[in-house]
């Protein structure tokens, strides 16, 4: 759920393009009705001169507009790079992106329309478990492959779907594994003895923190405080004082963004620094996180992340360079990278199968691994990924990857410094 970096451009697109698209679609529907039954989707699939249309609905406005806008950038960069390379299966890729306004009902309407009226060739997922949960059901019902870039709550994968794939390394409940492994690797005397677990009531953060608590308790780390707070919570002083009173060695927070910044600020106001601080996604919002809590205060903060701009994965350097070129030298948000990776997964499946065959592509993905800018991804029968997240830590004002070893960008872990 990372939200970051400048995305002024996408908003301009969102607001000017969508109405035109809507009108264009309306006209297209009228023409199709007028032509009475000449719907060309079956024949078009084999015609190389026609573009390959990929249907996507994204939260370009509303609560998730930030990550939604970033995901759009990721998809667009992928489209342009593939097209510059001759397209997919010899056909140019065209994206049909609609705005679901961060609304569950709209996202269902959007995907239904993309599949049944626009008859798109392929689908790509939207952003967040909240939206992907209903959207993936539409895709499954219509027997369309559905690869989604962000939506790793465990409940996504217990519905017996066969065409759903999550294009990150692990589901939410396995996200903390890499951090727990790090704690395990410490000598007994250096491990935290006590821990506090505040988390936002969010399908993506709660399972991470619950799973971490369970695993750390098994290691002998005593839980001294847990709380769940609602998504609209803005004042964290009370939670911070309750935590400070318990003096935990470790604070592990299921934080989306504002709540992560809010809790750290409140802990600063109380002058309580834990020995170890872990937050789920808030610290991955590079510049905005350090602006929000003060750069000096970021030192030593841990988080897990799916992607890093310095990672030596296939196409990553090209992706980072292209993003910087388009968006004033900006570093891609994790969400942009995740979207790009989801598109890479679909691309790999189409290439391997050699044609657009939704069943065959899904079967292939269940059986094979795909190299993406996030690293190698593989899935179980439910479409849940089976790899591990990266463990990142803020060091000297910049985020670095500290584990697993093969992806690490630095070779040491630093200790948390007191608030400045």
């Amino acid at each position: 759920m990372a939200r970051q970096h400048d995305s002024g451009n996408f908003a301009r697109h969102a607001r000017s393009v969508t109405p035109i698209r809507a009108i264009a679609t309306g006209v297209a529907v009228l023409l199709a009705v007028g032509a009475c039954g000449t719907a060309p989707s079956k024949t078009a699939a084999a015609d190389n001169s026609k573009p390959l249309v990929v249907g996507i609905s994204l939260p370009l406005t509303g609560d998730f507009s930030q990550p939604g806008g970033e995901a759009r950038k990721g998809y667009e960069i992928w489209r342009d790079q593939v097209n510059a390379d001759g397209g997919l299966l010899g056909r140019k890729i065209e994206l049909k992106i609609t705005d679901d306004a961060s609304n569950q009902d709209t996202v269902v309407t959007d995907y239904t329309k993309l599949i049944t009226q626009d008859k798109v060739d392929l689908l790509l997922g939207t952003f967040s478990t909240l939206l992907n949960f209903p959207a993936s059901a539409v895709a499954e019902k219509n027997k369309m492959l559905y690869v989604e870039p962000a939506g790793g709550a465990p409940k996504m994968f217990d519905r017996g779907f066969t065409k759903l794939f999550f294009a990150q390394q692990a589901t939410a409940s396995h996200q903390p594994d890499v951090f727990v492994d790090y704690i395990k690797s410490l000598p007994e005397s250096e491990r935290p003895k006590t821990a506090a677990y505040p988390t936002q009531d969010d399908p993506f953060t709660t399972p991470v923190i619950e799973s971490m608590q369970k695993q750390l308790e098994a290691l002998g780390v005593k839980t001294v405080y847990t709380t769940t707070y609602p998504a609209d919570a803005t004042n964290f002083q009370t939670i911070a004082s309750a935590i400070a009173a318990k003096k935990p060695d470790l604070i592990a927070q299921g934080a989306v963004f504002e709540d992560g910044v809010g809790l750290v600020r409140s802990l600063q106001q109380l002058n309580y620094t834990p020995k170890v601080l872990f937050q789920t996604s808030a610290p991955s919002n590079a510049g905005q996180y350090s602006d929000g809590i003060g750069k000096a205060n970021t030192e030593g903060v841990f988080y897990t992340v799916s992607w890093n701009e310095k990672a030596k994965t296939p196409n990553n350097a090209e992706f980072v360079a292209e993003y910087a070129k388009r968006y004033n030298g900006g570093i891609p948000a994790e969400d942009a990278a995740d979207a790009y990776a989801a598109a890479q997964v679909v691309q790999a499946a189409a290439k391997a199968v050699g044609k657009i065959d939704q069943d065959a592509m899904a079967t292939w993905l269940h059986a094979n691994k795909v190299e993406t800018i996030l690293g190698t991804l593989a899935w179980d029968q439910t479409g849940a990924p089976t790899s591990q997240f990266l463990l990142a830590q803020w060091q000297n004002g910049a985020p670095e990857v500290v584990a697993p070893k093969e992806a690490a960008t630095v070779d040491k872990v630093v200790t948390k410094t007191p608030w400045q």
Partner: protein, 293 residues
């Protein structure tokens, strides 16, 4: 005991800031029957302008309210004269549609010009607290609350003690009666809207320090503020203050003794119970008869 005092004090500080943000909303409704859904977006607009000015010049963000308030007074005046006056006399439902449009426009403009990312002003005191007898008072929250008390006090004095205030109250109570004794309704409405909007100048500056924000944050704020003024009685300044403090206390007390997760539920449960017995809100009907005098 310390825990209880700490929760009460924090609840009051938070409530004070909420009251500041809700005051303009309730004033505008009281005088004109306009439910200004754009109030939250105006707060975010000011928060952004404050953040920008602070990051370029380093001037204290809360002090910048001195500049933002007259600026927003002007914006409010123009908005009323240019747009809202055209629906005067229509139902409040119409004003919801129109001001929602304004809110989306402001959000869109901020998205395009400022970028869709989180900001927060971090002057040196943002992470510090005053400590009194084991109670911790976050400095930013204290300054914000002082600003709130000043603004609410000033609004009260203007409405209760000045001719202009009496004209505004007269129009709120009985527009035709006020017109009969020579109060120009359209001028008063524009003035009330401008004053109501001017409060976002202070509210937004305080918001920029206390809470990280991005263009779409206004949805959270407007829903919270509408809850406050419905509880207090729409149109009542005193009601907004009480509603805001109830929300502030609901947040800190539930977070201390139950779980913050319940605070929203408890706040809306309080609203429901109050509305069952007083459909006009806590201070609603009293206002209709004699405003908050």
């Amino acid at each position: 005991m310390t825990q209880l005092v700490q929760a009460l004090v924090l609840g009051l500080l938070i409530g004070g800031v909420y009251a500041l943000m809700a005051s303009g909303l309730t004033l505008i409704f009281g005088v004109m029957n306009i439910i200004n859904v754009a109030h939250g977006a105006l707060l975010i607009l000011v928060a952004f302008l404050t953040w920008k000015t602070w990051s370029v010049t380093g001037i204290d963000p809360i002090l910048l309210a001195v500049v933002m308030t007259p600026l927003m007074f002007g914006v409010g005046w123009l908005l009323y004269k240019g747009v809202l006056s055209r629906i005067s006399g229509s139902s409040p439902g119409m004003s919801v549609l129109l001001t929602f449009g304004i809110a989306i426009t402001i959000e869109g403009i901020l998205n395009v010009t400022a970028g869709n990312k989180f900001r927060s002003a971090t002057p040196s005191y943002f992470s510090q607290s005053f400590r009194i007898l084991g109670i911790s008072l976050p400095k930013a929250q204290v300054y914000g609350c002082i600003a709130a008390v000043l603004v609410l006090g000033l609004l009260y004095v203007v409405l209760a003690k000045t001719w202009t205030g009496r004209a505004i109250r007269a129009t709120a109570q009985n527009p035709s009666g006020a017109a009969l004794i020579g109060i120009q309704a359209s001028g008063v409405a524009a003035l009330a809207f401008a004053i109501g909007t001017a409060t976002t100048g202070v509210g937004g500056s305080v918001l920029s320090v206390l809470y990280p924000f991005f263009p779409a944050s206004h949805y959270d704020w407007i829903s919270r503020l509408l809850g406050i003024i419905v509880l207090g009685g729409m149109g009542s300044l005193a009601g907004a203050l009480v509603g805001a403090i109830v929300l502030g206390l609901a947040e800190t007390l539930t977070a201390t003794y139950v779980s913050l997760q319940w605070s929203t539920l408890i706040f809306y449960a309080v609203i429901m119970i109050v509305l069952l017995f007083r459909p006009q809100g806590l201070f609603g009907s009293r206002l209709r008869q004699d405003v908050m005098a």
